[in-house]
């Protein structure tokens, strides 16, 4: 038993050490965000200072040269992330419901058309998709940010898979009761799908918030940028100062990662459920 106790301690040691290594970039970013810019020139401070408030205030209200205030960027990010996550639910639930509960001509075709998008990240076809989006006049708009990303094979599959597990008797009873398919969807299926809804929502919110390439090419004015893609412009802007404003860049980085990290850590159970749902 003593041997076991010792090896357990070693295990915890290894795990805590690894976690500490992982946290180093975050910690140094936080420390930098609490200092005035010139403190970062002479050496890397290892302890926080008192400038966090002023730095955050500065980026939130004014931003850096050539970029909009971070409040504007965060609002754009929020609209994009909510638009994508809600849009995916609104599109994929009915589609999955039709495929799972109805028999209709072209059902397999519909299934396969949705399926082929499963592994097609926007990075694969972003160039022609950009041209199509431009043709529709959607550049630099919320529509352009959201619409090309709302189709979701993943969500459609997960819901179809889940709907298939519904006991046949449930649908039979509803039919005998004379309730319409839509009523059955609304008052029986959806309430029973609550945890799955939450899981997909969390997953897709993070997906939407973290987008980089798509907003980078679709938005043109600094005021329609999202905070995640805006970081690039801010880095070059910060580097053009005589004293590089890394403290401000790190303040923006912290703000940009708070929503997804918070959502994932707090709603961990659903996030993990959503991630794993496709594989088991």
């Amino acid at each position: 038993m003593r041997d076991r106790g010792l090896s357990q301690a070693l295990r915890h040691g290894i795990l805590i050490f690894a976690a500490a290594i992982f946290v180093v970039p975050l910690y140094l970013a936080f420390v930098a965000a609490t200092h005035p810019a010139r403190d970062l020139l002479t050496g890397v401070p290892l302890l926080p200072s008192g400038q966090l408030g002023p730095n955050l205030w500065r980026v939130l209200t004014r931003g850096l040269p050539n970029s909009a205030p971070v409040t504007t960027l965060m609002a754009n990010s929020a609209v994009m992330a909510l638009g994508i996550s809600i849009g995916k639910l609104v599109l994929s639930i009915p589609a999955a419901y039709a495929i799972a509960f109805f028999r209709f001509r072209g059902r397999m075709v519909a299934f396969w058309l949705i399926f082929i998008t499963l592994m097609l990240p926007i990075e694969v076809i972003f160039f022609p998709t950009y041209e199509v989006t431009a043709q529709f006049g959607l550049l630099d708009s919320y529509g352009g940010l959201i619409l090309p990303l709302v189709a979701s094979a993943t969500a459609t599959f997960l819901f179809r898979q889940f709907f298939m597990t519904f006991p046949v008797e449930l649908a039979d009873a509803a039919r005998i009761d004379g309730s319409s398919p839509l009523r059955f969807l609304w008052s029986i299926v959806l309430p029973l799908s609550r945890t799955n809804l939450a899981a997909i929502f969390v997953l897709e919110f993070v997906y939407g918030w973290n987008q980089y390439l798509w907003p980078l090419i679709v938005t043109t004015s600094p005021h329609s940028a999202t905070v995640v893609m805006g970081i690039q412009e801010m880095i070059s802007s910060a580097q053009s100062f005589a004293v590089p404003q890394w403290n401000l860049v790190m303040a923006v980085a912290l703000l940009a990662m708070v929503p997804p990290v918070l959502v994932v850590v707090v709603m961990q159970r659903w996030f993990v459920k959503g991630l794993m749902a496709g594989t088991s």
Binding site: R11, F102, F127, A151, P181, I231, I235, W246, T279
Partner: protein, 297 residues
């Protein structure tokens, strides 16, 4: 596609179509049409003014992937995918195996590791850029103190290593998560039976536990390769912009350069077609795996 057994299924003439059409419209406009467009463009050559276009056979494909510089973009992409996949999966597996043996506190470690995966890639890139900015970052200073001539803007290998570090930092968490779940699914008596055998700990792991994790390993292989191929764009754009030279230019980054910075739609089209083929291959692999799992359960 497995069908509902027996099948209490609603009838309706228009309703099912009304339910699937919105999703299909989006798929058609933003997936199918761009795909067709890319194929079409890949066989066309635009002149220097971007006005006229004519059929050009395979010229774009040849031009897109003929290696002019020291290293081709396909090589960069494949090497990046291999290195990051092996490292991120090894670290994820190692940490998951350790965490699996500490009992219920395992959950605390999950929280301690999961967050790096939630950080937007571009922001991860910014954190690491600040860490290794030549002459300024903490990591850069440590490396210089160790005698390394650190400047990733000049040295290809350093730029590549930095990208690998950021990607592994993000992906290890994902692999940890899936391996932890995979280990949980292995019945406890398998571990016990293996230890009664008296085999060494390491041998036991590789001969008994690791084979049982193969569905997870297989799935993660595909996901890690996907990440390195496609999602690495944000990190590359923030840290190296594909440089120095073309040392860190992946195929996706090349599409961005050719399509947006140089305005060459033919080249970008050919490269997109290449990416589509890669994605199709990965989808096929993943689908076989999904099928097999359905079969075994």
């Amino acid at each position: 596609m497995p069908d509902r057994a027996g099948g209490a299924i609603f009838r309706g003439r228009f309703l099912p179509y009304a339910l699937v059409v919105p999703q299909l419209v989006i798929v058609a406009i933003f997936f199918l049409w761009p795909t067709v467009r890319a194929i079409y463009e890949s066989f066309e050559e635009t002149n220097a003014f971007g006005t006229g276009a004519r059929f050009s056979g395979l010229t774009n494909f040849v031009n897109a992937f003929s290696v002019a510089g020291e290293v081709g973009t396909i090589e960069v992409t494949v090497i990046l995918a291999c290195v990051t996949t092996v490292l991120a999966m090894a670290i994820g597996l190692f940490l998951a195996v350790e965490a699996d043996q500490v009992g219920r506190v395992r959950r605390v470690y999950r929280t301690l590791f999961i967050w790096t995966y939630a950080v937007p890639s571009a922001i991860a890139g910014a954190l690491w850029l600040f860490l290794f900015e030549p002459g300024l970052g903490a990591g850069a200073r440590v490396l210089v103190d160790l005698g390394v001539n650190w400047n990733f803007a000049l040295h290809s290998l350093q730029a590549f290593a930095l990208l690998v570090a950021v990607i592994v930092w993000q992906q290890a968490a994902y692999n940890f998560l899936f391996y932890t779940a995979g280990l949980q699914m292995i019945p406890r008596d398998v571990f016990e039976a293996a230890s009664i055998d008296g085999a060494g700990k390491l041998a036991r792991f590789w001969q008994v536990v690791f084979p049982l994790l193969s569905p997870t390993t297989f799935y993660l292989l595909v996901m890690n390769v996907l990440y390195a191929f496609f999602s690495s764009f944000a990190i590359i754009d923030v840290i190296t912009q594909g440089g120095p030279g073309n040392a860190t230019t992946t195929v996706v980054y090349q599409v961005y350069r050719d399509g947006f910075q140089n305005g060459n739609t033919g080249l970008a089209g050919a490269e997109t077609v290449f990416l589509l083929l890669i994605a199709a291959a990965l989808t096929a692999v993943q689908f076989r795996f999904l099928n097999r799992k359905v079969f075994y359960r």
